[in-house]
Amino acid sequence: MNAMIGPYEQSDAAKAAYDARWGRILACVRLEQPDRMPTAMQTFFWPATHAGVSYKELMYDYEKTKQLCFDVVEEFEPDGVYTLVLGAALGPLLDKLDFKQLQWPGHGVRDDQPYQYLDREYMSADEYDEFLFDPTGFYLQKYLPRVAGVFAGFDKLPIFPGLHYFRLCFGVRAFAQPEVRASFERIVAAGEEASVAFAHHVDWANRIAAAGFPLINSAASIAPYDFIADYFRGATGTMKDLYRHKDKLKQVLDKAAIFIARMTIANARAANHPIVFIPIHWAPDRFMSPKQFEEFWWPPFRKLMMLLIEADLIPMPLWESDCTQRLPVIKDVPPGKCIYWFERTDMVAAFEALGDRVALRGNVSPSLLATGKPDEVDAAVKHLVDNVWRKGGKLILDGAFGIPDETPTANVRAMYDAARKYGG
């Protein structure tokens, strides 16, 4: 009798295919040789391009998104799949949160454009002490109201540490204030929408699993420096902090490594999936000096990765841009525990530096995928197979950061076909 995954029946053949695909990914992680080079699929709005619908439809129509994200998986048969539905069908939730850090199709950008993050200062430099002393209090009263409208009333919440006895009893008066009450009503509505969106993700993930396709990751995480630079101080704010507030920045990064690890471990365990996707924004060679990288960026990130590894998770950082000069530093992880996904770093150089330490993922150029021809994509895959995979590199083939939204279907087909043709 066939197994059931949620409401979906998984045939014996689909189960065997699922096990083989997941086995290839895990073999790469362990630095063992799988039967063939695995492929992965990550994208955000490309399923809309492929199907000829607007990005906004993907953002707002759960059923359509699930179907299109199932179709691309079934058509191109990757060995590991990103959480495609969670990455695209965000519109109703963002609306209900009144989320301030993004512009998205139908909300600040055109219907056929992807969502974009707004790099701003969401915490001022003189708030480091407050954040360090009581991160949760800072979140509740300052940070959350700044990043999402549903939390607008939270600045009226009581100061929790210190509440005790009758102070605690009467401290709850704040919850009766109209602004706080209104906030909670909106948060419940947003929470319900998040549950709906997540249930759609689970439904789609069950359906692709039943068809034989595993997710390559479930939980996602972030490097401590990027957490502060992207979501609190802003990119340029943090650059200034490297000079003006270096000690406080270091203290925050150290602390953040621990609470980010706790959050990530909890999420990964809830999802029952060991691989953690970690997009890396501020590690590139051209951004900060080697000295700054080794002093500020790498230690808290390594600490985070080690906490994840100790929890039997598999960190999968996506090293954006060119990180060639960072390779000797980021090699300092135990062998067979991580997948390093490189964007513009030369994959051959990465293999030569790290091939005995980590599995690799990537990295067909986005400009080639978006604007090149299928035979050029084929040649790019062959280059990676000849110079990395056939030389013993445990490569999971994918685009440099997945499939760019604008990619012609013929180029996507060329990438996956070439992986089969050359990679076994």
Partner: protein, 218 residues
């Protein structure tokens, strides 16, 4: 720059070495003691030249450019109100119009390129982010640039750049300036796709392109 006295040399060194507190205190003291504010701004320019050279040499990175910009602004705020007559500063090497193409809201890289061009002696007009082709054309008509820089971080910028350059062609503007593109995903493949004259992968390359086009020795 003509001969410097000890204070002047110290100010240039502290600015170039990222000693922000010391540099700003010294600039303030020099101005309070009657130093010529135009001369103090010249010293800043000399320091920025050193910063630019260290960036080109790979000794400095983005945080140092950001800090240099902060210090330049701070000294400017102290000195500029004290200047009686505008001397206009040194002659500019050429005009560069720069902006992020339509659909793209990113500006960190563009801002760094603008700053590097500025401290290297170019007259830079930055028209911001998400700029449609017509906005570029209107600004070109008014500013008469020698070089137009199109910036974009996302892959959607490939088509926006191509459309913008095609709009320059249709408006009969193409021969009047050089067009360079830059941003996270830009490479030769994208340059060929968009029809730009050149691309750069960082601010140093952008400065080199402009110098080359305008016949300025590096």
């Amino acid at each position: 720059m003509c001969e410097m006295n000890d204070n002047e040399r110290q100010l240039v060194d502290w600015l170039a070495d990222m000693q922000e507190d010391d540099a700003l205190a010294l600039a303030k003291r020099m101005l309070a003691e009657g130093a010529d504010p135009a001369r103090v701004l010249d010293l800043c320019r000399a320091a920025m030249e050193i910063v630019g050279k260290r960036f080109e040499a790979g000794e400095y990175f983005l945080p140092e450019l950001v800090m240099a910009g902060e210090m330049l602004d701070a000294v400017g705020r102290l000195a500029k109100p004290l200047i009686r007559s505008e001397t206009g500063g040194p002659k500019k090497l050429g005009k560069v119009l720069i902006g992020s193409v339509h659909g793209d809201l990113h500006d960190i890289g563009k801002n760094i390129v603008s700053f590097m061009l500025d401290i290297n002696g170019f007259d830079v007009k930055d028209i911001g982010v998400d700029a449609p082709a017509q906005r570029f054309i209107d600004e070109i008509d008014a500013f008469k640039p020698d070089v137009v820089g199109l910036s974009g971080f996302l892959t959607l910028a490939f088509d926006s750049m191509k459309e913008t350059i095609a709009a320059f062609e249709r408006a009969g503007l193409r021969g009047q300036f050089k067009t360079m593109i830059g941003g996270g995903q830009i490479d030769e493949t994208v340059r060929a796709y968009t029809g730009a004259d050149a691309f750069g992968i960082n601010a140093v390359e952008a400065v080199a392109l402009c110098r080359n086009w305008l016949g300025v020795a590096a």
